[in-house]
């Protein structure tokens, strides 16, 4: 199973997903993010899914859960770089990703987070 790396930039964690997501790796990611937020005291999490072409309801829900979870640590989650096909799939699945903010790309995501703090 491939693990998704989590980078730390200032008080922001950057998670760039470059592999096809398996249910297991998403679950692992969820745990990793929680641990890293707790360890670093990060205020924001950016999840870059530019390279993700396929999502299912499980992955959608997991992303949403990462958002809700980081909020418990007072960290804000921004999902960036979602592809049109992925957005359409999520809407068709009826997932609105509550608790997660979105931005078109990483740059805009970083700006969104810096505007808050």
């Amino acid at each position: 199973m491939e693990r998704v790396p989590i980078l730390k930039i200032g008080s922001t964690l950057l998670v760039s997903i470059q592999v096809d997501l398996q249910d297991q790796s998403v679950q692992q990611l969820q745990e990793d993010v929680a641990e890293r937020i707790a360890a670093t005291g990060a205020k924001g999490v950016i999840i870059d899914i530019t390279a993700v072409e396929i999502v299912d309801s499980f992955i959608g829900r997991m992303l949403s859960m990462i958002g809700s979870m980081s909020r418990l640590f007072d960290a804000q989650t921004v999902l960036v770089g979602m592809r049109p096909a992925v957005a359409i799939t999520l809407v068709e699945l009826g997932l609105t990703l509550d608790g997660v903010q979105t931005a078109l790309n990483t740059e805009k995501g970083l700006r969104l987070l810096s505007g808050r703090s």
Partner: protein, 272 residues
């Protein structure tokens, strides 16, 4: 279908081919002479007639296939030049009349003629089928080109795009609009999108649903989406149908939408 009667009929037709062709051209040309010249019609019919004789004679195996191909081509060109189905079918069916007028003196060929009318009826049906097929193809082509024509995505400002919709929306078109707009969001990195439906005469539940999905999908991608130009009748329909627009932002006109997007981007328009 080859039997003695038919072979005799084929022989008879083969011998009297020019006469039958004259009769046929005259019968088939009735009512359509303003759109196709007798010479042109005669040329087309001569090909069909000689193939028909070949099929009836039963000597040429490939003739039946050729005859079908020629008929299809004829129907297709008729459909394209705006002939009515009746005129197209009558072209083929009038062969019966032409042959009958030649047969009048030879009573012994009448049994064969009965089989022959069935054969011509079958040709007529083939013609009609090909005609309808050609028409449907034309309609499908037009629908497709209309779909391509009618969904532009316009860049209004740096970071603001607009999708002006004109004409009746159906599910297929709304779907296309949705995909095009989302792709444009990625390509232009626009944070605001304005969907203007001033030119849309009616909206039903399904279309409204698609519009809402588009807005939600855009939001998932990190862009704001505004719907503008809802006409009074449409507003009335939306409310009577009980469609919930939820927290989707709507503005009266495209200008209002643009103003909103500008102010959200921190821009202000001032007199020069």
């Amino acid at each position: 279908m080859v039997d003695a009667d038919q072979a005799r009929l084929a022989e008879f037709l083969g011998a009297g081919q020019p006469k039958v062709l004259d009769q046929w051209t005259e019968a088939a040309g009735r009512g359509v002479s303003d759109r196709i010249s007798p010479a042109e019609l005669r040329r087309e019919l001569a090909e069909i007639l000689s193939l028909t004789v070949a099929v009836l004679a039963g000597q040429d195996e490939a003739a039946a296939g050729q005859l079908r191909a020629v008929l299809q081509e004829l129907s297709r060109s008729r459909a394209r030049y705006g002939f009515s189905p009746r005129e197209t079918a009558a072209t083929v069916l009038s062969l019966k009349e032409a042959v009958y007028s030649q047969l009048a003196d030879s009573v012994e060929l009448l049994p064969a003629y009965l089989g022959f009318t069935r054969f011509v009826d079958d040709l007529g049906l083939q013609t009609f089928e090909a005609f309808v097929g050609a028409r449907e193809q034309i309609i499908a082509d037009q629908a497709e080109s209309m779909l391509e024509l009618s969904t532009p995505v316009v860049r209004l400002w740096d970071g603001i795009i607009a999708v002006p919709l004109v004409g009746t929306l159906d599910s297929a078109r709304t779907q296309l609009v949705m995909e095009k707009m989302l792709e444009a969001l990625v390509a232009t990195e626009a944070e605001h999108a304005v969907i203007d439906i001033t030119g849309v005469p009616t909206v039903d539940t399904e279309v409204a649903q698609h519009l809402l999905k588009t807005v939600v999908a855009a939001r998932l991608m990190g862009a704001d989406c505004i719907i503008t130009g809802i006409r009074p009748q449409i507003a009335y329909t939306i409310v009577s149908l009980g469609i919930e627009f939820g927290d989707v932002l709507t503005k009266q006109t495209l200008a209002d939408g643009l103003a909103h997007a500008l102010s959200r981007s921190g821009l202000k328009v001032v007199p020069a």
